[in-house]
């Protein structure tokens, strides 16, 4: 996927979360967005997901400019799978219904078709035994895997992960990261905001480093991790890789 961003600005009150982000990434397969807390990573992802409208600037996916009116955004969101930090499954629905509801109501599947497909996905993610449980009966890792299944189910043109493991125990983090790594193998383009630098280093082929709402560096992951050129990225990597 080709992603272009031009001078994206987004403020919340006095706080400028994104301060002119310009990027041109010709071919995203696995993009990791790194940066310290408050650097604007999540805001950038939310704009990509069509959940937030920038104050200024343009975005284009594969050359299609994103229009920020509700009608366009609705269609835009339907083509993108977003996974959040806090799982965000619907608590009143079973794991199965969490996956099949959007298929049925948004993507026009027949009820039985949606259920069959959702069950297949659950089975593939080793969650078949949990299909009829509600989120309250699932562990954090299982919830997040269901959330990922829900995002993947719609066959999105782009998958977005917003710190998908920040709310998980280390053990569960591994099961979720394994799953993301597996999705990457399938070749669906994905963007990952994460604190798991080790993981980003392993799976990402592109890295964008944000600092105070600006892109300080971006490029091939191997290159950036080996030879960071800004003192900020060097400092950041130094800190997060120290222990």
């Amino acid at each position: 996927m080709r992603l272009e961003m031009n001078a994206i600005v987004k403020s919340y009150g006095d706080h400028r979360a994104l301060d002119g982000v310009t990027l041109a990434l010709p071919d995203i397969r696995t993009l990791a967005v790194l940066g310290p807390s408050g650097s604007g990573k999540s805001t950038l992802l939310r704009i990509l997901a069509g959940l937030e409208t920038p104050d200024a600037g343009e975005i284009a996916l594969d050359g299609d400019p994103v229009r920020f009116d509700e009608e366009y955004l609705l269609r835009h969101r339907r083509g993108i799978g977003t996974v959040f930090q806090s799982f965000n499954l619907f608590p009143h629905l079973t794991a199965l219904d969490n996956i099949s509801l959007p298929l049925e109501k948004v993507h026009g599947y027949e009820a039985s078709e949606a259920a069959t497909y959702a069950l297949q996905l659950l089975a593939r993610f080793q969650l078949a035994g949990h299909a009829l449980k509600t989120p309250a009966q699932l562990s954090g890792g299982q919830k997040q895997r269901v959330a990922i299944a829900r995002a993947v189910a719609i066959k999105p043109r782009l998958l977005l992960f917003d710190e998908p493991t920040s709310a998980l125990d280390p053990e569960m983090t591994v099961e979720v990261l394994d799953l993301i790594a597996e999705l990457r193998q399938e070749g669906r383009p994905l963007v990952l905001v994460t604190h798991e630098i080790g993981f980003a280093r392993k799976v990402a082929d592109l890295v964008v480093f944000l600092h105070e709402g600006r892109v300080l560096e971006w490029g091939e992951a191997s290159h950036l991790f080996e030879r960071p050129s800004t003192p900020e990225l060097r400092g950041f990597l130094d800190k997060v890789l120290r222990y």
Partner: protein
């Protein structure tokens, strides 16, 4: 002895429950027996008994008026709760003014003003219809708050993921918010319905021939006060007690973790 009346925690053994209920019953019986024995009163149930069908008719009118008002109050409550969150600002303010006025004035005053001024001006002179509308508007203001609290209890993160999935605004309400809200608001809603049934007695002031008015009339015909009003209390309890018990059950059933 101690183990029948002192319990730690929520689990109550059957024997203890029976013993304690008996104790409460005994205490209340004593109290009422004492109170009634002090009243120099010549009981005369016969006079009232001849009017038994009048009681029944009044009671049925109360049931009918309350049921109609409940249904309408749900509609009003839901509309007000949605108006409260409407993008069109004047609508929000209208909902707020309506609620503040209703909740800030006594129902009796609302009945009088609405019946003698508003309904009169609009040429509505069916007092049953007016009564139902007033009751529904009164309860609707409280119900809108219950529904609003229910809607707001659905977390921001859920709304966000619903948006990310590509649901329209209507779909978010239909598939994410309302199913969760219904479970949560059932107990307070049932409580509000019990209040509405009791409040319907105030419609007697505009001569809606409901339960209380009929009891008052029997009282006037027969000069038997207590014999008219005791059945009145029982008649209301028959309606409100099941609701209250049902509410208790709902509260335990819907206590699910999110």
């Amino acid at each position: 002895m101690r183990r029948y009346f002192f319990i730690k925690g929520d689990k109550v053994p059957g024997a203890a429950a029976i013993a304690s209920w008996l104790a409460v019953f005994l205490l209340l019986s004593l109290l009422f027996w004492f109170a009634f024995s002090r009243v120099r009163f010549a009981w005369d149930w016969n006079a009232v008994y001849t009017y038994r069908f009048k009681f029944l008719k009044g009671w049925l009118v109360t049931v009918a008026v309350s049921s109609a008002a409940m249904t309408l109050s749900l509609v009003i409550g839901l509309a007000t709760a949605l108006a409260h969150r409407a993008p069109f600002l004047p609508l929000r303010y209208l909902a707020r003014v309506y609620m503040e006025i209703i909740r800030g004035t006594p129902l009796l005053v609302q009945i009088l003003i609405f019946f003698y001024v508003v309904a009169d001006a609009f040429g509505i002179n069916n007092r049953y219809l007016v009564g139902i509308v007033i009751l529904a508007m009164f309860a609707g203001a409280y119900i809108s708050e219950i529904i609003r609290a229910g809607i707001e209890s659905v977390g921001e993160t859920q709304l966000e993921s619903a948006r990310a999935i590509g649901f329209t605004r209507a779909q978010i309400y239909r598939y994410v918010i309302f199913p969760q809200v219904t479970r949560q608001i059932l107990p307070p809603l049932a409580g509000q319905f019990a209040s509405l049934i009791k409040d319907s007695s105030l419609l007697s002031i505009i001569s809606v021939s409901e339960f209380t008015l009929n009891a008052q009339e029997v009282n006037a015909f027969t000069f038997s006060t207590l014999e008219s009003y005791l059945p009145l209390a029982v008649g209301y309890l028959i309606l409100t007690l099941p609701i209250s018990l049902w509410t208790k059950r709902l509260e335990t059933r819907f206590r699910y973790a999110t």
